[in-house]
């Protein structure tokens, strides 16, 4: 009932289903309704950690040595607890630097070093090769086992078949097709693959369900629950020893495996791909951190029952433990379940291979092939047009290459090893990335040279203590290499270096690798110096949480380039549509207008570099951007200034300085305003003092004369009349003063009721002369008025202008010497208006006083004439009035030569002067 055709159809159908799911998820993502935006999908995709090795190998190892399979899953559980610290930081760093692979991460941290990125890529490809081979082996072995259904024939005994009948080859080809389709669909700045993630999450469900079904069947159908299996096993001495761990040596391996798996869950290229690169929301970690270990528990709970059941059912040595998941249902002729188990194993293998090959192809393309191609000048890639196709072709080629290498490894070497041993070989090598990455995340002083030295030494040590011995065991090297050491030097025996023996091979290798790796990493870092770029990157990695938005702060690029150049560059790598989209978002976020952007500032150049880094890796992006930016990188001093830890302090102090400068300016203004206020306050005080003084003088005389009149009832009538006249005069003066103060206050406050109309200057002057005639007569001053017969009208308030004239005339009368005084009134027509001049032959006004007399209460000449005459407000009011009319008032005088007060009042109409002239 389980024909080969059925098996192939089922496997093929399953793979088609994967394609469909990936296609569907990609479509949804394109329309913005992605299904991978959930922590559950995220956790399931991380479960790509469980491969065919878990599915088949765990049971095999449990059948061989009990709980020894567990550290591979306990290590990731422990790391998951630390995700909150470790992974969050890795995520934040990767997002702010647009990191797309583990090689990118290392290269970026150590100064965007192409050399380091290339080294990590090569190591990764070499060490993952056996791991991929392991998956192919798992699939082809399980297929061959199932093919002989219902007989149970071990793969080793089966007909090896020709290369055309080689299952592994077809499986590899199908997987490559899937990876090419969904791993390189487009070149993207984020390097995310929604379709792939959805398919991987689905596969995680399938393999879990398949394994649980087999487990439940074995435990509860073939046996009577867990207790039954273990009780039967307890009765057999060879099985009950699996219940406990044997000896101290096992403990060493237990710790080694735990440490290796801890490194693996973080640094395996595919784990980095799903947990960091494909991560959409940092907050998903909170749920995934316990969902993923829960998944691990679920998929491991039946490992021991199945293993022991297999040992109970099959005679010792007949059936390989690695196939128990398949052979136990087969032994009961449960064909459907066996097929389900096969599909489960297939999904575990395909998930791993797909993600791993995509991750490796990204690394190969971005960190190895592109940097080399870009460096080869005669290819002229830096000048060439659209490179999107080239990048995609390289990615696809890389996927094919990775799978081909995996297949070749499986074909020529893989046969001689158990699943677990192959996987552990890879784990041990991946652990070599740990010092450079963990150190790089927490230690700013680590240098590029240190990372290079540590990584190379660790890798070489791994080759020597694990890889070469595996070759020797496969018969590629003489066994003497293992037993007697190279060239017969005992101290150099790969499994007992420097005579270190007593450990298992893996612990021994891990010890030496880490000694070499960590030792050189730290040692070389201590004695070498960082380049400026390294310092920048070190700070950005280690202090990623302290930076508001890492990436925008470091202005690495100087020199000049145009936006068009950068745009063209980006279009070549990620295509026009995505370039428009990215730059559009950039411009929108900063409120720029792309159309008007010509010069590219440092920030835009940096943005471009990050954009490109997503598509072709940090190292290549740097080369490309450097080719576009004409001008050299920043000088050493400048970079130091930006990047040193002191840079933040400098930045803060600069801001502080700016602030304090602003404050200083503000306080200067305030001080000036305060001085003005004080001056105004003082003036007001002066005014009050003067006014009260001016009020007191007439009041005093009124009071004293009133008292005299009151107390001396028998005063002579003529004396009484004289006193009363004085009282009346002083009262008038008081009234006048109060009126003037009120007028002035009203004018100054702008509340004066002006009656502006056309006024005949001639009539007004005649009125004013008539009003003051008596005054001139009293002082015996000659008044000589020379008024033309025709004068144009002016625009003014009649009463106020009259007051001005009377004020000027009475002043002139007052200051002219009595008896010999001469006052002249003249009128002239000027451009802006009528000028009225009143001149006297009094003492005149000193030049320094000519401005002052128009201010309030400023009287001059008091030294000459003793007591001032008048309130001191007259001229101040005159000036306010004339200025309100839009005219001017001024004085021309020479001390001793009399004074001339001139008033200029504007015409009522602009053309009055012309009319007057005609």
């Amino acid at each position: 009932m389980l024909q080969p055709g059925v098996i192939v159809a089922a496997a093929f159908g399953y793979l088609c289903l994967l394609f469909a799911i990936a296609y569907w998820a990609d479509k949804r993502a394109d329309t913005g309704r992605g299904i991978v935006t959930s922590p559950y999908v995220y956790a399931l995709s991380i479960a790509v950690y469980c491969t065919a090795w878990t599915f088949y190998g765990s049971v095999g190892r449990a059948a061989a040595s009990g709980v020894d399979f567990l550290p591979i899953y306990l290590g990731p559980t422990l790391v998951a607890i630390l995700w909150w610290h470790l992974m969050r930081k890795m995520l934040r760093i990767s997002k702010s630097n647009r990191i797309t692979s583990i090689a990118d991460f290392v290269a970026s941290r150590y100064g965007k070093s192409q050399l380091l990125g290339g080294l990590v890529t090569i190591i990764a490809v070499i060490v993952i090769m056996p791991y991929i081979a392991l998956q192919l082996k798992g699939v082809s072995a399980s297929f061959n086992v199932l093919l002989n259904y219902p007989e149970i024939v071990m793969p080793a005994d089966a007909d090896p078949g020709s290369i055309f009948g080689d299952t592994a080859l077809y499986v590899a080809a199908l997987m490559a097709a899937f990876a090419m389709l969904y791993g390189t669909r487009h070149i993207d700045a984020t390097e995310r693959h929604e379709g792939m993630v959805a398919a991987i999450a689905f596969e995680s469900i399938v393999k879990l369900v398949a394994f649980l079904c087999v487990g439940l069947y074995v435990t509860f159908v073939m046996f009577d629950g867990f207790g039954d299996i273990f009780r039967q096993a307890a009765m057999r001495a060879d099985l009950s020893k699996l219940f406990v761990m044997q000896g101290v040596a096992d403990h060493g391996e237990w710790l080694t495996l735990t440490v290796l798996s801890m490194a693996a869950i973080l640094f395996l290229p595919r784990q980095f791909q799903v947990s960091v690169v494909e991560n959409i929301d940092e907050r998903h970690l909170d749920k995934a951190a316990w969902l993923f270990p829960l998944y691990l528990i679920a998929i491991n709970i039946f490992v021991l029952p199945i293993a022991i059941a297999g040992l109970l059912v099959f005679p010792p040595g007949t059936v390989d433990g690695d196939t128990f998941v398949l052979t136990l249902p087969m032994s009961e002729r449960a064909g459907g379940l066996a097929l389900l188990a096969f599909i489960g194993g297939l999904s575990a293998a395909t998930g791993m291979v797909i993600v791993e090959s995509i991750a490796l192809s990204t690394m190969l393309c971005n960190d190895l092939i592109m940097p080399i191609l870009l460096r080869i000048r005669w290819l002229g890639l830096t000048e060439r047009g659209d490179l999107t196709r080239l990048v995609i072709a390289i990615r696809r080629g890389s996927i094919a290459l990775v799978l081909l290498l995996g297949y070749l490894y499986f074909h020529f070497i893989g046969g001689s090893y158990a699943l677990v041993s192959i996987g552990l070989l890879s784990f041990a090598a991946v652990a070599q990335f740990a010092p450079a990455i963990i150190g790089g995340m927490y230690w700013k002083g680590a240098t590029r040279a240190g990372a290079l030295a540590g990584l190379s030494a660790g890798f070489l040590m791994w080759v020597y203590t694990l890889l070469l011995p595996s070759f020797a065991r496969s018969g590629w090297l003489p066994m003497g290499f293992l037993d007697n050491g190279p060239l017969g030097i005992e101290l150099l025996k790969p499994y007992a270096l420097l005579g270190l023996s007593g450990f298992d091979n893996l612990s021994h290798a891990l010890f030496w690798c880490m000694v070499a790796n960590v030792g050189l990493y730290i040692g070389v870092s201590m004695i070498t110096r960082q380049s400026p770029t390294e310092r920048i990157q070190a700070t950005r990695f280690v202090e990623v949480f302290q930076q508001p938005d890492a990436g925008d702060r470091t202005r690495l690029w100087r020199g000049s380039t145009s936006f068009a150049d950068l745009y063209a560059l980006v279009v070549r790598f990620i295509g026009k549509r995505r370039a428009d989209q990215s730059f559009g978002t950039y411009a929108a976020r900063r409120g720029l207008n792309l159309a008007r952007l010509t010069r590219a500032d440092a920030e835009l150049v940096h943005f471009t570099e990050r954009l490109l880094a997503g598509a072709i890796g940090a190292a290549s992006a740097r080369v490309m951007v450097a080719s576009a930016v004409k001008g050299e990188n920043v000088g050493l001093d400048e970079v130091m200034k930006i990047l040193d830890e002191a840079s933040q302090v400098i930045e803060y102090s600069r801001q502080l300085e700016e602030k304090s400068r602003a404050l200083e300016a503000a306080s200067t203004e305030l001080r000036a305003a305060n001085i003005r206020l004080q001056e105004i306050d003082r003036l007001k005080d002066d005014f009050m003092t003067t006014v009260t003084h001016e009020l007191r003088t007439p009041l005093t005389s009124i009071r004293s004369f009133s008292e005299i009149l009151h107390d001396n009832a028998n005063l002579a009538p003529e004396q009484r009349t004289e006193f009363l006249a004085i009282i009346i005069k002083e009262s008038e003066r008081l009234t006048r003063l109060i009126n003037q103060v009120l007028d002035l206050a009203r004018i100054e406050a702008g509340r004066f009721d002006w009656q502006m109309r056309r006024i005949s200057v001639r009539e007004l002057l005649l009125d004013a002369l008539a009003a003051t005639r008596q005054l001139f007569k009293d002082r015996d001053v000659v008044l000589d008025a020379d008024l033309p017969a025709e004068l144009p009208d002016v625009l003014a308030d009649r009463d106020q202008l009259m007051q001005v004239f009377i004020n000027l005339l009475s002043n002139a009368a007052k200051f002219s010497p009595a008896g010999s005084g001469k006052v002249g009134v003249a009128v002239a027509l000027r451009g802006e208006g009528v000028e009225i001049r009143v001149s006297d032959n009094g003492p005149g006004i000193a030049r320094e006083h000519q401005q002052v007399i128009f201010e309030k209460f400023r009287q001059v000449g008091d030294t000459l004439s003793g007591k001032p005459q008048g309130s001191g407000l007259g001229l101040a009011i005159c000036r306010r009035i004339i200025e309100h009319f839009g005219g001017r008032i001024w004085v021309e005088s020479e001390p001793g030569g009399g004074a001339t007060f001139a008033v200029l009042v504007p015409y009522a109409e602009p053309d009055s002067r012309l009319a007057a002239a005609s």
């Binding site: 909150w84 039954d228 219940f243 021991l304």
Partner: protein
């Protein structure tokens, strides 16, 4: 719960996990006997594992993610 508290609890939980799965601790339960029909060592390892994940889920569920913009206060 504040970030720092969650971080400290997780470190403590990690140390507990290391202790649970350390060979000396395991040696205490490394006895060839069945408890509830299950080998003691298996029971201990899986029991400890479940306990650890349950505590992890508990600690993380108590943690309230601050609004996105203030999530930068922790040094990781």
């Amino acid at each position: 719960m504040r970030n720092a508290v969650t971080g400290d609890r997780l470190i403590a939980l990690f140390l507990l996990g290391v202790l649970l799965f350390t060979p000396p601790m395991m040696a205490i339960f490394n006895i060839e006997t069945l408890v509830f029909g299950i080998p003691l060592l298996f029971l201990y390892l899986f029991g400890g594992w479940v306990l650890l994940v349950a505590l992890l889920a508990f600690v993380l569920s108590r943690h309230r993610e601050p609004p996105a913009d203030s999530a930068h206060d922790e040094g990781g």
